[in-house]
């Protein structure tokens, strides 16, 4: 019991520490100002994040990490989701899981930003694809690289391993597209670009990124819901507070149930990743959490707009920021439908018992 209490206490402290970057209930002016800019986040804030040790949270202490588990990482990311923090913690932490020790120092300090580029087609969890590395040159095309505008280098998945490609290397072309949340996706074309071969396989790091994204969505939907409840408690119509109407109360409870299910699912999946090594069980837990978080976040944020009425449709109203974030993240690292199908494929029926 004592070990569990210690761990809960350290989770609380970690959540509290997130307030340095994403103050609880704080205003979202910084987030608004960064939207649709390049790179879409603040490099100075990124250095602060690195100073807190977050990109290396999951890494062993002897390589400069904190040696903590997924339970800690999802707790932290949930707080950042509540603040819609745009700095690329999830992709960089994924890259840090894959980089060899001698490359880590500059990434963990924030000096260099390395973003994984693994995806080659929409709606896919194939971590490798057809990109090849041969004779120190990498050729292929990667899509939907998150926050690519801020990358100094890309960790590209290739057949048989990984390749580290500098952004300004010859043969590298990066096309940016803005996303609804104010960030960007990069399409990375590699035509015999010089690269450093890195041994490894991104598939497990991808599981962690998918689960962390679920936690971010959890934090985001929970905050949007809290803002909407505040609105329901103050907005008057027909001489009454709208939150006193039973139809709206019951709808709010249904959203709360979805948030509670997401929390239970995400936290259970984090515990699974911390304790289970069998790949199918890890994938099953992650798919369950991402399927729930993706659908629940879309439902909750969409309903938060509806419950806010006309003001909910304005860009000036903050709840919309959460809907736009859910629109970006719910399908990133696998949509709900993709994760449902994968859950069915990897989870034997008797595990439901």
């Amino acid at each position: 019991m004592d070990a569990a209490e210690d761990r809960n206490e350290s989770l609380r402290m970690l959540r509290d520490s997130a307030a340095a970057i994403a103050p609880r209930g704080g205003d979202l002016k910084r987030i608004r100002d960064l939207r649709f800019s390049e790179p879409g986040f603040d490099r100075a804030v990124w250095r602060e994040i690195c100073a807190m040790g977050w990109p290396g949270l999951r890494l062993a202490e002897d390589v400069g990490g904190s040696g903590l588990g997924m339970r800690e990482f999802v707790a932290l990311v949930e707080e950042l989701g509540a603040g819609l923090v745009p700095e690329p913690l999830i992709p960089v932490a994924m890259a840090a899981r894959l980089l060899p020790a001698d490359h880590l120092a500059s990434v963990l300090s924030g000096e260099r930003i390395v973003i994984p580029a693994w995806q080659e087609r929409p709606n896919s969890l194939d971590a490798v694809g057809g990109t090849t590395l041969s004779g120190g040159k990498v050729t292929g095309k990667k899509m939907f690289v998150p926050q690519a505008a801020g990358a100094d280098a890309f960790l590209v998945t290739v057949q048989g391993g990984l390749a580290l490609v500098q952004r300004d290397a010859p043969g590298v072309s990066l096309v940016l597209e803005q996303t609804q949340d104010g960030g960007n996706f990069g399409t990375l074309s590699l035509d015999g670009a010089p690269a450093e071969a890195i041994a490894g396989d991104a598939s497990d790091a991808l599981e962690e990124a998918a689960l962390a994204t679920s936690a971010y969505l959890l934090g985001a939907m929970d905050r949007a819901f809290a803002m909407t409840l505040d609105y329901m408690k103050t907005r008057q119509q027909f001489g009454r507070t709208i939150g006193s109407f039973q139809a709206l109360q019951h709808r709010a409870v249904d959203l709360k149930i979805q948030i509670s299910l997401t929390r239970a699912s995400v936290e259970a999946a984090a515990a699974t990743l911390d304790s289970v090594t069998v790949p199918a069980l890890r994938q099953s837990a992650v798919s369950r959490a991402k399927a729930r978080a993706a659908e629940a976040s879309m439902l909750v944020t969409k309903q938060c707009i509806q419950l806010s009425g006309g003001i909910g449709y304005t860009d000036a109203y903050d709840v919309g920021l959460f809907l736009r974030k859910a629109m970006v993240l719910s399908n990133l690292y696998g949509s709900a439908a993709l994760h449902r199908a994968r859950y069915a494929a990897v989870t034997p029926e008797q595990d439901d018992e």
């Binding site: 249904d254 299910l261 449902r340 069915a344």
Partner: protein, 392 residues
């Protein structure tokens, strides 16, 4: 009507065992002693069908896991009680007529007089007294505190007049524990008392209610100048409401357990295979949604079990669990009905196989969102006490 068993006290204090050892002990005993013909019954069983299991538990001294040992219970910790429940559910054990053990015993242990404890507790454990619950009335369902069945003091007796409804298995019971109005002028929650009444008292009439699934689980119970000694009152007069509420605390975690939905999903799979739609892509997507809904329910349920395990009190947010589980259960039975084709119309199980009975399961799922506090009431509870939404 009920032959008393030789109820025993199990000499062992199971709290001294570690959880895994205790679980194995329970599992082995259940496997060796549970009557196979009543595993996973599709309906709530009557006393004449379930008493064989009641008496097995009674003879073993395992009937009342939560009662203190001095009263013939097992005195188990919350976590050990949960293990017993999990093992019973895992094996598909039926519910017996358990109101005496779950409701009346704990009530008397906490609020009863010495004489009441000495008289009633052994007879509950032996099966001599079988109980039903007189709470709801035709005009007091969700608004239970509006109940009107009245008990008026006349010398040394209370005289009771009124009507109770949804008295589960009243036809099997020889005692009823009732909430009655003892002060018509007080605020509605403050004029209610708890009375214990023998069912063979003159003036009591029981009429079974046939439910949508053609079962006679519930009854109406009428009281016409029924006289009971005033010492049958439990606790203080006019304090019945508070006592009754305290007894309901645990109910919602059981109504929110994933077992019902898991059972229905297993039947859905069986039916889909039989109907030849199991491989359909569209069916599979709907099926995996339900699987995931259960998987997440299981995790949410586990967080509440953990609260109980730590010995803490469940908050009003547990109403979320009951709401989600019961509606999920219904959704599963609705899909079953949809894929069954014309078989959905059949009154009896398909092909004589009681596991292929989509219309029966569909109807059985209907009351889940009504009993134990309707889901509308559960949502009111969460809205007011968890989300703190205003009244006006």
């Amino acid at each position: 009507m009920n032959s008393p068993a030789a109820s025993a006290r199990d000499p062992q204090d199971y709290n001294t065992l570690d959880d895994d050892t205790f679980r194995i002990t329970v599992r082995r005993w259940v496997e060796a002693n549970y009557p196979p013909e009543i595993r996973n019954p599709p309906k709530r069983l009557h006393w004449h069908e379930n008493k064989v299991w009641f008496f097995k538990l009674s003879e073993k001294g395992w009937l009342a896991p939560s009662w203190p040992r001095e009263f013939g219970g097992m005195g188990l910790s919350s976590s050990k009680q949960l293990i017993m429940i999990e093992e019973f559910e895992r094996h598909g054990c039926c519910r017996f007529n358990d109101h005496g053990v779950i409701m009346v015993g704990p009530l008397l242990i906490q609020h009863g007089t010495e004489a009441q404890k000495q008289h009633f507790l052994p007879k509950i454990l032996s099966g001599e007294y079988i109980w039903c619950q007189g709470y709801s009335e035709p005009n007091a369902g969700s608004d239970l505190a509006a109940l009107r069945t009245e008990a008026v003091l006349d010398g040394d007796h209370y005289v009771i007049n009124g009507q109770k409804i949804w008295t589960t298995l009243a036809m099997d019971a020889n005692w009823i524990f009732c909430l009655v109005r003892t002060d018509k002028n007080a605020k509605k929650q403050e004029g209610i008392s708890f009375l214990l009444i023998p069912m063979d008292t003159p003036g009591i009439t029981v009429r079974p209610i046939i439910t949508l699934d053609m079962h006679d689980e519930f009854c109406e119970t009428f009281f016409d100048n029924v006289r009971v000694p005033r010492e049958n009152l439990v606790g203080q007069v006019n304090k019945g409401w508070t006592m009754a509420k305290a007894l309901l605390g645990f109910e919602r975690i059981f109504l929110g357990a994933p077992k019902q939905s898991q059972y229905a999903l297993a039947r859905l799979k069986q039916l889909a295979e039989r109907m030849g739609v199991w491989e359909d892509e569209s069916f599979q997507d709907r099926y995996v949604r339900l699987r995931l809904d259960i998987a997440d329910l299981r995790e949410l349920h586990a967080t509440y079990v953990e609260i109980v395990r730590r010995g803490e009190t469940l908050g009003p947010d547990v109403s979320q669990l009951k709401t989600w589980q019961t509606e999920l259960f219904q959704r599963i039975t609705e899909l079953s009905l949809e894929i069954a084709g014309e078989n959905a119309a059949l009154l009896d199980p398909m092909e004589g196989n009681r596991e292929l009975h989509p219309s029966g399961l569909y109807l059985q799922a209907r009351p889940a969102t009504i009993y134990g506090g309707s889901n509308e009431i559960q949502r009111n509870i969460v809205a007011k006490n968890v989300l703190e939404l205003p009244d006006r």
